[in-house]
């Protein structure tokens, strides 16, 4: 390999290193009085941007019914197999809904594939990023804990509609 050497002679002062050390010390001393950049986390919360992928949640319609129809697309696409769905029949016009819908947040890798694949916009990634807890059991979320009113998730639903171009028309 061709190496080009820069023949730069150091000056006496540079070779002594003491002036350089003093320069460095002066620099760090100045920095000590600059404004701090650390976010004081529990007091100053992180406002997740709309693109952030937090815990996946199920969308609950205005009338309190789940939007999910238990089609199992998310279950089959989920890379770490965090989702378990048991389908069930309802008396509503959309005859199918999840009897049980479980997301094991210990397994979930927040990849967002479930959201992308969902044909009903029924599962979306929320802005919930604080996912620690004390027991394993409490981190397996069931349907009751996953269902979230649509009003809280509408921003993300709008965003994904645009992002994944889910209902694109053939002309576009």
């Amino acid at each position: 390999m061709q190496v080009k050497r820069l023949e730069k002679r150091l000056t006496i002062a540079e070779r002594l290193a003491i002036p350089e050390i003093l320069k460095g010390l002066a620099f760090t001393f100045r920095i000590m009085f600059r404004k701090r950049v650390t976010r004081q986390y529990p007091e100053e919360r992180y406002e997740a941007p709309i693109a952030a992928k937090g815990q996946p949640l199920l969308v609950e319609n205005e009338d309190g019914t789940p939007r999910c129809v238990a089609c199992s697309m998310c279950e089959v696409v989920c890379p770490p197999k965090a989702i378990t769905i048991t389908g069930g029949e309802t008396e509503r016009e959309i005859e199918r809904e999840p009897e049980e819908f479980r997301i094991d947040m210990l397994r979930c890798i927040l990849c967002g594939l479930c959201e992308e694949v969902c044909p009903k916009e029924a599962i979306v990634m929320s802005d919930r990023l604080e996912l620690a807890d004390f027991t394993r059991e409490s981190l397996v979320f069931d349907k009751r804990r996953l269902l979230t009113p649509v009003s809280e998730l509408s921003n993300r639903i709008r965003y994904t509609k645009e992002k994944y171009d889910k209902w694109h028309s053939p002309s576009s």
Binding site: V69, C71, E75, V76, G88, E89, E93, E95, K120
Partner: protein, 495 residues
């Protein structure tokens, strides 16, 4: 369809996609195209039914001699000399895409809800043909979506593409028409005669042959997506017909049973009894399944090692006059091992239960024999067929009842007689419901074991395990071999 019973079939040479093939003269074009590996989509054509040629999805282009130039419906066409067929030409593809678009005009977009998704012919073909979106803006046709056709089947009229497979099934196979297409043109829809619920023991088959999700089985609805299930080929055990079946399992539970083609036994069909009566196989320990060896201990029972139970069973059998009764659900291998157990034992009577004929026989599949392996066990020398009336008085005797299903086949007097036994040893998948068993050895169900069954017409077939047995349930063969060993060498058992 084996139309050629008249000795040998004459062959001819036809051209398919530019390549020459030897084809049976007069054979069905669609069957032939399939046999040489061409993919021809179809909805209404089913090899077990008469030809309706109503869906027009199997169109191919004919350019040579024969029917007429242009697109032809390959399910209806017979092979003639000098035929030249293009399966993938522009015209053929255009014709099929057009049909597809018409079929999808009013088909609801509810694949996520539909139970058929994943094994739906319409879905597969739509993906294959590749038209991503419809061109219509008009509202879709709305029809009753959840219409109960009796206690087994549910009909969704919106999804129906009017292929009439189900209609023809009742006409051609059952010989008793029950379904029909009502009204005409774009208003036509499927319904039963006079809105009566469906009758008969063969309704489930219309769910299998339905190319879309219009007909669904109430028992299976929404239980699982087909791609999550593991399918095991096996044989139905509910009568001596020995229908070939596929067992679909998820999380070690049977969710549904489908017929599997066997030309000489059941063809494409099976009865609803075999299709829906799998709850006994799914029985869990908390529901009464015998999941561990138990010994009667005073009033109660205590769990014990299998070896301890076998040693005790051997001792009991040696002490008194013994009657050993095997279930007719047992496989041939088990029958032989069972006979070997008691072969050298003085005064022992070993046989399999041979119940009387039932009144369940019909002219299609179901036989009057409730035992799946009566023929196989009858062939075994040294194993006598014991009818329930021949059991006799069991007072003072040791009785060994073995195998899945024995308790179901025993009724009334036989139960009372067996209940009087001095010592009752039960080897079964659950408690017998009579007598007071001294020993309870857990047994496997036919869905949990390997082996051979011989059906009523003498065809030997293999059953395969679709489920995992509970951990402490030994294989039935292991029980028989262990017992045989202990009966043959009593000294070692004592030590």
């Amino acid at each position: 369809m084996s139309s050629g019973a008249e000795g040998e079939t004459r062959m001819t040479t036809i051209k398919v996609d530019g390549v020459e093939h030897e084809a049976p003269l007069g054979g069905r074009l669609l069957d032939f195209l399939e046999s040489i590996g061409k993919v021809v989509p179809r909805f209404c054509y089913h090899p077990g039914l008469s030809v309706a040629a109503s869906c027009r999805q199997c169109q191919v282009e004919s350019v040579g001699k024969g029917p007429r130039p242009g697109t032809i419906v390959s399910c209806r066409e017979r092979i003639v000399e000098g035929m030249e067929i293009h399966t993938d030409s522009e015209a053929a593809r255009k014709a099929r895409a057009g049909v597809m678009e018409f079929l999808l005009l009013n088909h609801p977009l509810d694949c996520p809800i539909c139970d058929k998704a994943g094994e739906c012919m319409l879905q597969d073909t739509a993906y294959g043909t590749g038209q991503a979106a419809g061109r219509t803006v008009e509202p879709r046709r709305h029809l009753p979506k959840r219409k109960s056709l009796g206690d087994k089947i549910l009909l969704d009229n919106e999804r129906c593409i009017l292929c009439t497979r189900c209609v023809r099934f009742f006409e051609d196979v059952c010989g008793e028409p029950q379904l029909t297409v009502v009204d005409r043109g774009d208003r036509s829809y499927l319904d039963t005669f006079l809105g009566e619920p469906l009758r008969g023991n063969y309704q489930g088959n219309i769910v299998d042959i339905c190319p879309v999700g219009a007909l669904t089985l109430k028992k299976f609805r929404f239980r699982s997506r087909p791609w999550f299930m593991t399918s095991t080929p096996s044989v139905c055990g509910l009568c001596s017909r020995g229908c070939n079946i596929t067992i679909d399992v998820r999380n070690n539970r049977i969710l549904r049973i489908r017929p599997r083609f066997h030309g000489e036994i059941n063809r494409w069909w099976m009865c609803d009894e075999g299709r829906l009566d799998f709850d006994a196989y799914n029985m869990q320990p908390e529901e009464g399944r015998l999941a561990e060896p138990l010994i009667r201990d005073g009033e109660g029972e205590r769990p014990a090692e299998l070896s301890e139970l076998l040693a005790l069973a051997a001792e009991f059998c040696r002490e008194g006059p013994a009657l050993a009764l095997l279930s007719p659900f047992a496989t041939v291998e088990e029958g032989e091992a069972f006979r070997d157990c008691f072969a050298g034992l003085d005064g022992a009577r070993a046989g399999f239960l041979a119940p009387g004929r039932s009144a369940r026989a019909d002219r299609l599949l179901h036989t009057d024999d409730p035992c799946p392996n009566r023929a196989g066990l009858s062939r075994i020398e040294g194993l006598e067929a014991v009818a329930p009336s021949e059991i006799g008085d069991c007072a003072g005797k040791t009785v060994f009842l073995s195998g899945f299903g024995l308790d179901v086949l025993l009724h009334g007097e036989a139960r009372t007689a067996l209940g009087r036994a001095e010592r009752l040893i039960v080897h079964g998948h659950r408690r017998p419901g009579f007598g007071n068993p001294a020993l309870l050895i857990p047994a496997r169900t036919p869905a949990e074991k390997n082996g051979r069954w011989v059906n009523g017409s003498g065809i030997e077939q293999r059953i395969r395990p679709a489920l995992r047995a509970p951990t402490l349930v030994p294989d039935d063969l292991e029980v028989f071999r262990g017992l045989a060993e202990r009966l043959a060498r009593p000294q070692e058992v004592k030590a």
